[in-house]
């Protein structure tokens, strides 16, 4: 059995795989954190400024919506390249784990913002009306009613964003980002080491499965409907 493994996976360096997995974890974790930190307020603003909403602001909505749409319509692989000068300015390098995070956030935050906007729109208007009728300020409506009511939807949105970021992080290997994607491209693709490719893909699949399971559980836990 051991011999078989040795023969099948001749090129696999498990230490390397371990580090690459860790790098992917860091990239996804950090970019998810910043995507949520930026995307959540952005999504709340998109919702509040929207038509017939609490702070209806057609101009502000149009501007925000336009920026979000632009970031979302640029294919991520292009965004990675376009972002390079900005990333260098921000981090000092466009390479490695740190260099991959700004483009990941640029891709993840607007994506998550739209998901937040959608889940806020799904909150029953009657609940907003009832909260206003109690004499709530807009801030109180957002923090007291909207966000708690939309929490399951927002958690589902975080899960979807995390999974998207896993695939984006793998893609960043093309332009010198780190992690499993980098390994897959350098060894699996450029050196024809199919065994490395299979292992990295398998690890990514497992990673996504775990994320989805964890997300689903949290959604279930917070759903009171």
């Amino acid at each position: 059995m051991e011999a078989l493994m040795e023969n099948l996976l001749t090129n696999v360096d498990w230490t390397e795989i371990g580090w690459a997995s860790w790098d992917t974890l860091v990239m996804v974790g950090m970019s998810l954190l910043f995507s949520v930190l930026i995307g959540l307020p952005l999504g709340v603003m998109l919702f509040l400024f929207g038509k017939r909403q609490l702070l209806e602001q057609p101009v502000a909505y149009a501007v925000l919506s336009f920026v979000v749409n632009i970031l979302r319509s640029v294919p991520f692989i292009i965004l990675l390249i376009v972002m390079i000068p900005f990333t260098v300015m921000l981090i000092g390098t466009s390479l490695g784990v740190a260099g991959a995070i700004p483009p990941l956030v640029a891709g993840g935050a607007p994506f998550f913002a739209r998901l937040v906007e959608t889940s806020l729109r799904e909150v029953d208007r009657g609940i907003i009306e009832a909260t206003q009728a109690m004499g709530a300020t807009v801030k109180q409506v957002v923090f007291g009613a909207l966000l708690p009511e939309a929490l399951p939807g927002i958690i589902a949105g975080i899960t979807v964003t995390a999974i998207t970021l896993v695939s984006y992080a793998a893609m960043s290997g093309v332009v010198g980002g780190g992690g499993l994607g980098d390994l897959a491209i350098r060894f699996g693709y450029q050196r024809f080491q199919t065994d490395v490719m299979v292992i990295t893909v398998a690890l990514l699949v497992i990673f996504v499965q775990l994320l989805q399971m964890a997300g689903d559980r949290l959604v279930l836990y917070f759903s009171r409907k």
């Binding site: 029953d124 009657g126 609940i127 009306e129 009832a130 909260t131 206003q132 009728a133 109690m134 004499g135 709530a136 300020t137 109180q140 007291g144 009613a145 708690p148 009511e149 929490l151 917070f222 009171r224 409907k225």
Partner: protein, 335 residues
């Protein structure tokens, strides 16, 4: 006291103003249960939302206890809204909060109550609406009637002086409707709260309201004491509502009346006269023969009333009519 002084409301739709409420003036007295009845789209939802300015009027003034609320700034408006409770057709409870937290919510928003005060008030309200054992459940675990009781408790949390009810029983079954209406009547009696209630069911008005306004196409078409409006409806819309609530089919009734001989009278008894054995004695005195075509005895709030449709043959009709009127019975000649 809630005073509407030429209040108007219209919505801007595609650059055009669509009127939802034509210029309306009326007064709702402190401590009364005031019903607003109308078909959907008649403007009653708009009318009730004007009282707590969820909908700002496009003209006129709204005075509450002699204060013009249409002139309030944002923080005055929020303070005012705490004094106006509101309950809804679909309850609008927060699904993410427990029953107790839902009731505590308006007090927390007000930011002027201590934790101990809130806890004490929530316990008191839970008992008031008979849900003391459901405090830690979530709304999804409750029945419709229980949800509306939570809604009522929540609306009362900040000790309001006005309670607005937006189709509060329309999503409930008849039995639950009864119990919720009874709770509202109790609250009105015990707390002296003014209740403004909108509904499309005349039966709800009959059970709990003191006065009623009937709305049609953005206008109040009839207003008065429930017993007057209910027993002697004048406007066609009001008549429709009354017939509907008594499940009378008008065409069928006309056919029945057409077959009856002699004169046809409708007698309306109110209060104590409802129980007097009048028909027999009047028949003896005047020599008329009567047959009862239709009749019912019921209550308007706490007052009993009866309505009989009779056909009278022979004898002296004038004596009969006078005898009825002498006994305080309202007589309407249908034919």
């Amino acid at each position: 006291m809630i005073v509407f002084d030429q209040v108007k409301k219209s919505y801007q739709v595609g650059g055009r103003a669509i009127p939802a409420l034509h210029s309306t003036s009326m007064t709702i007295e402190t401590g009364e249960v005031f019903g607003i009845v109308g078909h959907s789209g008649a403007g009653k939802s708009t009318l009730v939302r004007l009282i707590n300015l969820l909908e700002p009027p496009t003209g006129g003034r709204i005075l509450i206890d002699d204060e013009n609320i249409t002139g309030y700034n944002a923080s005055e408006l929020r303070a005012f809204r705490r004094k106006v409770g509101m309950i809804f057709q679909h309850f609008n409870l927060l699904s993410s909060k427990t029953v107790a937290d839902n009731i505590a919510f308006p007090m927390k928003l007000a930011g002027i109550y201590s934790r101990a005060e809130i806890r004490e008030r929530v316990d008191e309200l839970l008992k008031r609406v008979s849900l003391a054992d459901q405090a830690n459940k979530y709304p999804s675990q409750l029945s419709g009637g229980q949800k509306q009781r939570v809604g009522i408790a929540r609306a009362l949390a900040c000790r309001p002086t006005i309670l607005l009810c937006d189709e509060a029983t329309s999503a409930l079954d008849p039995q639950t409707t009864q119990s919720v209406l009874k709770l509202l009547a109790d609250i009105n009696r015990e707390l002296g709260l003014t209740i403004v209630l909108i509904t499309h069911e005349m039966d709800v008005v009959r059970r709990v309201c003191d006065r009623v306004a009937v709305m049609d196409a953005g206008e109040v078409v009839e207003m008065g004491a429930v017993s007057d409006v209910f027993l002697h409806p004048k406007h066609p819309t009001t008549r429709d509502f009354v017939f509907e609530s008594e499940s009378i089919d008008r065409e069928e009734m006309q056919r029945d009346l057409a077959q009856a001989p002699g004169r046809i009278l409708r007698l309306t008894f109110r209060g104590q006269s409802t129980y007097t054995p009048l028909l027999g004695s009047v028949a003896r005195e005047s020599g008329v023969d009567f047959s009862i075509l239709s009749g019912r005895i019921d209550h308007i709030k706490d007052t009993p009333y009866g309505q009989l449709t009779l056909s009278l043959v022979g004898g002296d009709l004038d004596i009969a009519m006078n005898a009825f009127e002498a006994a305080d019975v309202h007589v309407e000649v249908l034919r």
